[in-house]
Amino acid sequence: MRLLLVLLVTLWASAASAQSLQDLLQADPEAISDPSRRTVGEVLGRLVDSGLPEVPAFLQHWQAKEVVQRRSDGLFFVGEPDGDGHILHDVSNGAEAGRAGPREVEELKPNAGVRGVIGSALIRFQLSDPDPARRQAALDAIANDPAADQIEPLRASLTDESDPAILVRKERLADLLAARFGSDPAARIAAIEDLGSDIAVEARAVLNQILASTSRVADTIPEEANVARTLAPGSADLPREAAYVMLVEAGLAPPRVTEAEIRDALSAAIADGRVGDAPAATLGTDEARHAAYDAMAAARGLPPRVTEAEVDAALASHAFWQDYEETDPAVTAAAERALGTAESRVRLYQTADIVLDAVSLASIYFLAAIGLAITFGVMGVINMAHGEFIMMGAYTGYVVQTLVPDYTLSLVLALPLAFAVTFAAGVAMERLVIRHLAHRPLETLLATFGISIALQQIAKNIFGTQARPLTSPGWLDGAWIVNDVLGIAYIRIAIFVLALLFLALILVVLRRTRLGLEVRAVTQNPGMAASMGIDPDRIAMLTFGLGSGIAGIAGVAIGLYAKVTSEMGSDYIVQSFMTVVVGGVGNVWGTLAGAALIGVLQKWIEWFNPSNTLAAQTYMILFIIAFIQFRPRGIVAMKGRAAGA
């Protein structure tokens, strides 16, 4: 008896120790080390149901890819990276359990789907977690995968929520869940009507889910159906072929006999080189094949061909409609109304968003082209190497960033330095090459092209062909987000501001300074300017330096939002030329107008044809070519003598 009792106690003790987390995990180690979204729910259920207090902490480690499995014995630990190995911690109490070398443990990397399921399992533990970040994570998990059983825990957690922002989010999610899964129709409709004023993706997602519908076909529309709309076969919504396929799938019409089936049936029926009466060699046309098939179909029990008239008759005698999955017409009607209101507002914001994108693109084109416009306007020189100056600026930014690790400081240093480098390069090019080709614009064009390909290859030889990182400082990361539709990246706003800054700077230099006065004089009449004591060569040199310097700064800006490669210049050169030519040569406002026109136009064409960006660019160039026919001197044409050059 006593012995039995001892035995029982021992058994109970071993049963209790089987309840330890490690044992629980070892019960099915595969499910932990190699989980799948579909199957992980089971093991999660077991873990959560065990009621062990350390389970939530373990799940958080698992979710954060911090759990490791020792190869030698298959035990799980929380691994803390330490050099090329890990310091192991016990899964239950976090006590240190030794160190593992590089290949002694395997890091467990649950995939995003599994992590999502873990997140859902954690929701009820995390909704009232003291750490606000965890509470946010729980709310994200709800938003990503809403379910009816989340309503109660979420509502329960509302009362003791201290953070006002999280409280707002919780209430909102509770509303969304109520609208979608609520049991009381009146409350649902009220919640749905609230969503009409909300253009967030989350809210529209809920409405669309409520409005989910399926296409159906039958002889007539049944009374009890909650019909979304009826469909007419042959319309754009339901093409004739698709409608007939629906009929066939519903078993309401015989399938069509395809040409391939006819061919196979005939091939199978060949005997002595003949199909029925016809020699096989004559069956090289559709008509002959149809005739031969019709002749043998009935006899061989093959399905008869379905004629077009039969198709039409079948379509005409059936009703096609779409059915809401939600059965309550009041709810769907409310959702339709709410979605309609939301979507008309969405369209408005979408237009605003396109305008923002267009302005952003225009400011990039403007920055890239303004330097070119200055040199072209003042000196009549086409600088094909302009794109390479942009590239030099970008690489300057890259080099500065490798030397100065602080992104903000390196950007502050890179901008003036890029200007200085490209200014110097521009001046050198003007003195060494362009000056000697004065008044031979076509040859200047080709000579600068030679410099362009040389510079491009030199950059390739120095920096390699791989794209180089040019990272924007942290405060330029992210986007200015008005709502889920309207938003623009900060970096683009920064480029826009930069473009404005340079527009102002150039206007001030040209209008308010001695240099500007001399530049304008040389632009209008170099001979006269020279006779008034202005040195046209010096002006030309400075102008060229200025134009190139701005290209360098544009390079830093473009590198920040796109990429730094040796070929980035050639991506912008033709567009820049187009901007200058469309805008009108030698005029800052002209360049601005050109950039704006091209930016807006490109976005506008993309808007019409969102699946093909390439077509947008093609049409834009064609438009520019046509535009030049009607305004050969650009939007803002120069007047006076300089125009006649």
């Binding site: 390909i453 040389a454 390439l614």
Partner: protein
């Protein structure tokens, strides 16, 4: 083309104002025959088939350069879009080559079936073969004539001719000149290449047309023989083109063309039809360039939109400038020399130059050399390589002035 010995160029008899034409044709003929006899296809095999192909393609580039020279060096229109016409010619002939070759293959494979194929089945099978790579199985409308060699040959000259005619008519009518026109032509070729890049354009997008070196119906010939045949064809085209352009730029018509280059307004005041002449030159050179392209791509084997990218046309201008503008043999010489040098340097055949601290590898530095060399030629030797021939002492001829570009020609009127 090789540089003929200088002595050979001393005119022994004067031929109707321009003996250089005969000399050029003679050099071309000797070159073609020489290469043929040394090739694998005909004779001893000293020159490999791939090099014969390279030489044949070079002749086509020479023809394009000669056309470019006429439009730029003689007429003063710096077209940065002539390679667009070259590419269009290639595409036009490529359509027939692909369709005919694929039809042969498909007909062969369908022949084994119990039922003879219907015309629709045949067409669909061919279309699937050609357009399968871009996920389509139907012939786009621009392939309407692709089953007929005759019509497609007509397209070789017609399509580029129409494009050039339309573009030129619009541009010259609104008096777009100088760098504006250059940029517009560049825009034209960029638009064309972007359009071709789209799969929806129906010309297989970025893949382009390939396998063009297999000429349907001539399967038995082998590439060695074909390469020589194409060398001859290219040489013949170059000869005819050369004569055509020599004729175009001679006499009174030639004077008008050169006068337009030097001072367009003055020619207009003298009562000549400037726009018509420019349009004629632009369109005619475009068509000849297209023929060069139609001969080039069956030798290259593949054409794709990258071939009509703006850079290709700029290189064409570079060849002409290096060879020497305003003389036809200069353009041909420039194209031959630079393109052959390019392929030699980039093939890694040129030994590296060790400098002690670093090694100059020509595959890396050739482009730099080419770019800077080009700047140097523009700055220091505006007459290009062709200018070397001026150093050849010759009897002064009353009728021969300097036909090259005049430094003063571009002078902007000041004040």
């Amino acid at each position: 083309m090789t540089i003929a010995p200088a002595a050979a160029l001393r005119p022994r008899f004067v031929l109707a104002g321009n003996p250089s034409v005969l000399w050029a044709l003679l050099v071309l003929a000797i070159f073609t025959l020489g290469v043929s006899f040394l090739s694998e296809g005909m004779g001893v095999g000293l020159i490999s088939t791939s090099f014969v192909k390279t030489l044949g393609k070079t002749l086509c580039l020479c023809l394009a350069a000669v056309a470019m020279d006429v439009v730029w060096g003689y007429c003063g229109i710096l077209s940065l879009g002539h390679m667009a016409f070259f590419g269009l010619g290639g595409y036009a002939i490529g359509q027939w080559l692909m369709t005919a070759r694929t039809t042969e293959i498909v007909a062969q494979s369908l022949a084994g079936q119990p039922l003879p194929p219907t015309p629709r089945e045949l067409e669909q099978a061919v279309a699937t073969q050609i357009f399968g790579v871009v996920g389509a199985d139907e012939f786009p409308w621009i392939w309407a004539f692709s089953d007929s060699l005759g019509l497609q040959l007509l397209m070789v000259v017609l399509v580029p001719g129409l494009l050039a005619g339309l573009f030129g008519w619009l541009a010259f009518r609104s008096r777009v000149t100088g760098v504006y026109l250059s940029i517009l032509t560049q825009g034209m070729t960029l638009a064309l290449s972007l359009w071709l890049f789209q799969n929806d354009s129906g010309l297989r997008g970025n893949n382009g047309l390939s396998g063009l070196q297999n000429i349907p119906g001539l399967d038995g010939w082998g590439q060695a023989t074909l390469s020589v045949a194409f060398l001859w064809g290219s040489a013949l085209a170059l000869a005819l083109g050369y004569v055509l352009f020599a004729w175009l730029t001679s006499g009174r018509r030639g004077s008008v063309i050169r006068a337009i280059r030097d001072d367009e307004a003055r020619v207009r005041f003298l009562g000549y039809g400037v726009e018509g002449t420019k349009l004629l030159v632009f369109t005619l050179t475009a068509m000849v360039t297209a023929i060069a392209g139609a001969l080039y791509y069956p030798q290259a084997g593949i054409i794709n939109p990258g071939e009509v990218a703006p850079l290709a046309s700029v290189y064409l201008a570079v060849w002409v400038a290096i060879g020497g503008r305003g003389r036809l043999y200069g353009a041909a010489l420039g194209a031959a020399l630079v393109s052959l040098l390019s392929s030699w340097f980039t093939s890694g055949g040129v030994p590296d130059v060790p400098l002690g601290f670093a090694t100059i590898r020509w595959t890396d530095w050739w482009t730099v050399l080419l770019g800077l060399g080009f700047v140097a030629v523009t700055l220091l030797a505006p007459k290009g390589l062709g200018g070397l021939f001026d150093l050849v002492p010759r009897r002064p001829s009353r009728r021969q002035g300097d036909w090259g570009p005049d430094d003063g020609a571009w002078r902007r009127e000041e004040g």
